[in-house]
């Protein structure tokens, strides 16, 4: 059989399933066509990359000083641009106002075990999306540097953090209720630290699971999930990347992940809740 048409392979890479069964058989056994498809898939994956979960480090301050000196730049530019107001380092977290106010206190989402990848014609996107998100999973760090800033996605610059003194401000919280076949319950709370960082604290009662427990925030319809890290004990604190708008990602989800190296959401959620803003 001849090699598959590149047109067919490119549509497959975009999540469509054109072609015959014979085409699929050919693809399964032909390294050349598989490699072509993989190249296309890589493009789709990169193009739909979700940068918010990817953490970046920052160069030391002396690096800018060295550049400044070597190039003989204007003295007005002597200060490290990374430390400048409006730089990512100083970017305050989203204000409380960004947290969505649910029209009803309980829309049933917290309790209802909604499948992560609902059927329907729009199945494709979550899959592409999940793969991309999986590629970018990084534990939250105190630095809060994320690729979202590089890709210009850090959200709208917001007003200065409230000057109410050096205490953490509770932005939102939710009870975590167990999903089918699970028993663990607890609560989730989002706090804003004095430096603007938002932290999600999870408390979840012990439950024997087959794998490890991973913490996610997700969109209301669960079509988008961002991993914040692994919940080792009953309590864990995770930094919410500045690029994450909690109004868009109000769902807190804890999954049971198998030790199989697959970083995507397992579809096996242990407990879930939807954040309500705290007045």
């Amino acid at each position: 059989m001849e090699h598959l048409d590149a047109e067919l392979l490119s549509l497959r890479a975009l999540g469509e399933t054109p072609g015959t069964e014979a085409d699929a058989d050919h693809l399964a056994t032909c390294p050349e066509c598989a490699a072509t498809l993989q190249g296309f898939q890589r493009v789709a994956e990169i193009a739909t990359l979700e940068p918010a979960g990817i953490t970046l480090d920052r160069p030391s301050a002396r690096t800018w000083t060295a550049i400044h000196q070597a190039l003989g730049l204007s003295p007005a530019l002597a200060a490290d641009p990374l430390a400048r107001p409006g730089g990512q380092a100083d970017q305050p977290a989203a204000p409380p106002a960004e947290v969505e106010t649910p029209s009803t206190p309980d829309d049933g989402l917290a309790a209802a075990p909604i499948p992560l990848r609902p059927g329907g014609k729009n199945r494709r996107r979550p899959r592409l999306w999940m793969a991309a998100a999986a590629a970018g999973i990084i534990l939250g760090t105190a630095a809060g540097w994320t690729a979202a800033g590089v890709l210009g996605q850090g959200g709208t610059p917001s007003a200065a953090p409230t000057q109410s003194g050096p205490v953490a401000l509770v932005l939102a919280e939710t009870p975590l209720t167990p999903l089918a076949a699970h028993t663990g319950s607890g609560e989730a709370q989002v706090e804003q630290l004095p430096d603007g960082t938002r932290q999600l604290t999870i408390r979840l009662s012990a439950e024997k699971t087959s794998g490890y427990r991973q913490v996610w925030v997700g969109t209301s319809d669960l079509s988008g999930m961002v991993s914040l890290g692994v919940l080792a004990d009953g309590t864990g604190t995770f930094t919410i990347p500045t690029g994450i708008d909690l109004a868009q990602y109000p769902v807190v989800d804890i999954s049971n992940q198998a030790y199989n190296g697959n970083p995507a959401h397992s579809d096996d959620s242990v407990a879930r809740g939807k954040l309500s803003p705290k007045a």
Binding site: E7, S10, L71, V150, G152
Partner: protein, 190 residues
Amino acid sequence: MEAAATRDWDPGLDQAFAGGDENALAEAYRRLSPLVYTLALRSLGERNAADDVTQEVFIRAWKSRTMYRPEVARLPAWLVGITRNAINDALSARARQRHVEEAVVQLLPDPAAGPADGSVEAVADRLILDDELEHLGDPQQAILRLAFYDDLTHDQISSRLNLPLGTVKSHIRRSLTRLRTRLEVEHGTP
């Protein structure tokens, strides 16, 4: 939620940089030095070496700004290219050094540097892809954006843009091939 690297990037910055505005250099540093640094750190494994590469990249970029063509590439994509060159240079220099010293001291990687991390490379690739996407022209660009970000099938794109099905399909094939080639060239595996 759709990342929009180059769409969010002010083209005025590219022009200002090419025109020698030092503020544009500082702004490029503010926006892109964490990515440059993290790419270097993941490849070289040492913070000092990554700082050196970051320094080198921005110095090189500024010194060759008269060769930079804003109409050919956006600044983020251009800087990623320079970064990858500078990292390769640092790796070759290290290999030569190792050869000379013949394992006198085995350099221990900085544990703080973390493991090699493909996701940072993916962010860099994303800047490259966004750049290439911008240069596809229309309707190719519109077609791919609908496929990637609005998640439309080629059927739906065809009716949305009122283009024949065959045209949409061949545009998708050609555009994906072009983007794939650009990524491969970027990684030295044509």
